[in-house]
Symmetry: C2
Subunit: 309 residues, 2 copies
């Protein structure tokens, strides 16, 4: 069954996981927190544009969460509801609130998920392939006949287990985002400048190396842009920060209908700021309370912290 909550062409389509996460931090444990890469990315994009979400949930997925998505303005025409349970992930953060250990992963309905784009989605100019298997990412990409700017996120699991499929994705996109450790794993290089050069050689115009609390670095043809991270005084739950970062960036670009270098840089700053809010509470809790003026205020604060005032 598809939720066809709205119609019309989408400016931005985001495919990824929808999860019910059980998250343990040194301070608190929360069960069945609404998460997954699609949730974080669509919520983050929503400050700029109502994204179309492509994902799958089970029949146990609470209606309250659907309502939460709608409040964010997320379009749910591409969110399938399949017989079975929703994807569940459970992890525990170390006292540093950065490193974490996965305790369990139950794929459930995600195991047989084949993402299909509704008609209005396949013509979207902006496409974010959130962190799912590269096989699924390629399947979505093949349906996106009108995509002008495609960003894919990935992780160590796919680099280790589906390298060929991942390289296929990487050869077809405009930007790859990945962690510094994943960039090293993908290339066999330690130095991130060399990592990025090598990855750009695989095809993408841009590589964004994510460094968590240290920000990110954008590499493009003959340019480097250092994306600062806002120093958050109270980190509650870092889950989904990378997805919020990518979603916020893509939301800004899709709303601005821009892909030039200046727009990409501004978009990355927005992504960084939205991610910095997101970690202040569990799941989407902080983003739910957030306004664009909060975001702009922190963006200006961040700019003044790097001497751009």
């Amino acid at each position: 069954m598809n939720h066809q909550d709205s119609s019309g062409d989408r400016g931005l389509v985001i495919v990824g996981s929808v999860a019910l996460d059980t998250i343990a931090t040194p301070f608190e444990t929360r069960k069945d927190v609404l998460g997954g890469s699609a949730s974080y990315a669509c919520a983050a994009a929503s400050f700029f544009i109502p994204a179309g979400m492509v994902g799958v949930v089970g029949t146990d997925f609470p209606e309250a969460h659907m309502e939460k998505y709608r409040k964010f303005g997320i379009d749910l025409a591409g969110l399938q509801k399949d017989e079975g349970e929703t994807f569940r992930w459970s992890g525990v953060y170390e006292p540093d609130m950065i490193n974490r250990k996965t305790l369990s992963t139950e794929l459930n309905v995600f195991a047989s998920f084949t993402p299909e784009l509704p008609a209005g989605y396949s013509r979207a100019p902006f496409l974010l392939l959130g962190n799912i298997s590269p096989g699924l990412q390629v399947h979505v990409l093949s349906q996106a006949e009108n995509a002008q700017f495609v960003v894919a996120d990935t992780m160590d699991l796919w680099i280790n287990t589906q390298r060929d499929e991942l390289m296929d994705v990487v050869s077809k996109i405009n930007m790859l985002t990945l962690n510094d450790s994943e960039a090293r794993l993908m290339t066999g290089e330690h130095n991130i400048v060399k990592c990025a050069e090598q990855i750009m050689g695989y095809g993408p115009d841009y590589v964004v190396i994510k460094k968590g609390e240290h920000g990110a670095v954008l590499f493009g043809k003959n340019e480097i842009f250092l994306v600062p991270a806002y120093p958050v005084g109270e980190v509650c739950d870092p889950t989904g920060a990378g997805d919020s970062f990518a979603g916020g960036m893509m939301g800004y670009l899709a709303a601005a209908k821009a892909t030039d270098g200046a727009a990409v840089k501004k978009a990355l700053l927005y992504g960084s700021v939205i991610a910095s809010f997101g970690v202040e509470k569990f799941g989407l809790d902080r983003l739910e309370m957030l306004t664009l003026s909060d975001i702009d205020r922190r963006l200006n604060e961040l700019k003044s912290m790097i001497g751009v005032a």
Copy 2:
């Protein structure tokens, strides 16, 4: 015997270690490389001002190294030569070129070192207490009757073994510089914003948290400044990067005779850029070939990478 190579009041005095380092990287091993916190810091400062070096060498210290110091314009009136061998350190870098293991430390003449400031040094307005024992740092500070801006660097060893003496130093200085892991060790806090607030509570106006390849963060009363790191494509030897960073910063401030916030921020950018050059070759080799116009060119490049162009 003291080397009294020049006279007159110094604008900047730097106390620290002088070492002959044996450095193993995954690519190359070098023996008896001229190093130590005072060497790196004075060399880095030299692009702005001839600093007075306070330290100790043994009778085995090569005259060629003294000549190297003189070429940097370093004043050597405060460099003692004592009977015995020069301090030696040996370490091996992991493949990441970031983490390292100390293989041996031979204090030699450093074991009985008591730094004494020549007359022209005790009136210096700018004082950098490089990474030596806090007991020695306090001893130097007590002789610096005219110090207006005092920066101290420290390390995990002193936090673990001489905490009381270190806290005494920290209470008497304007700025403390230390690594993020050391800030966590000192305060028992993980979050670096909280670490910095706590350390400022001990006395200093500024805390600079150093994060290696990720840059540094300046914390002051009601302000935060994110110091970017230039992305170096070829890291040869990271030894002394923190010392070059601090030395470059202090060199700029002492030459500008300024301690206001804007000057401190500009000084930190200079320190970051000089440190980024320093790691490109072993020891002081890269700094020896460097000019202020090279530094200014990379500073502008770094600024454009953060959108200040």
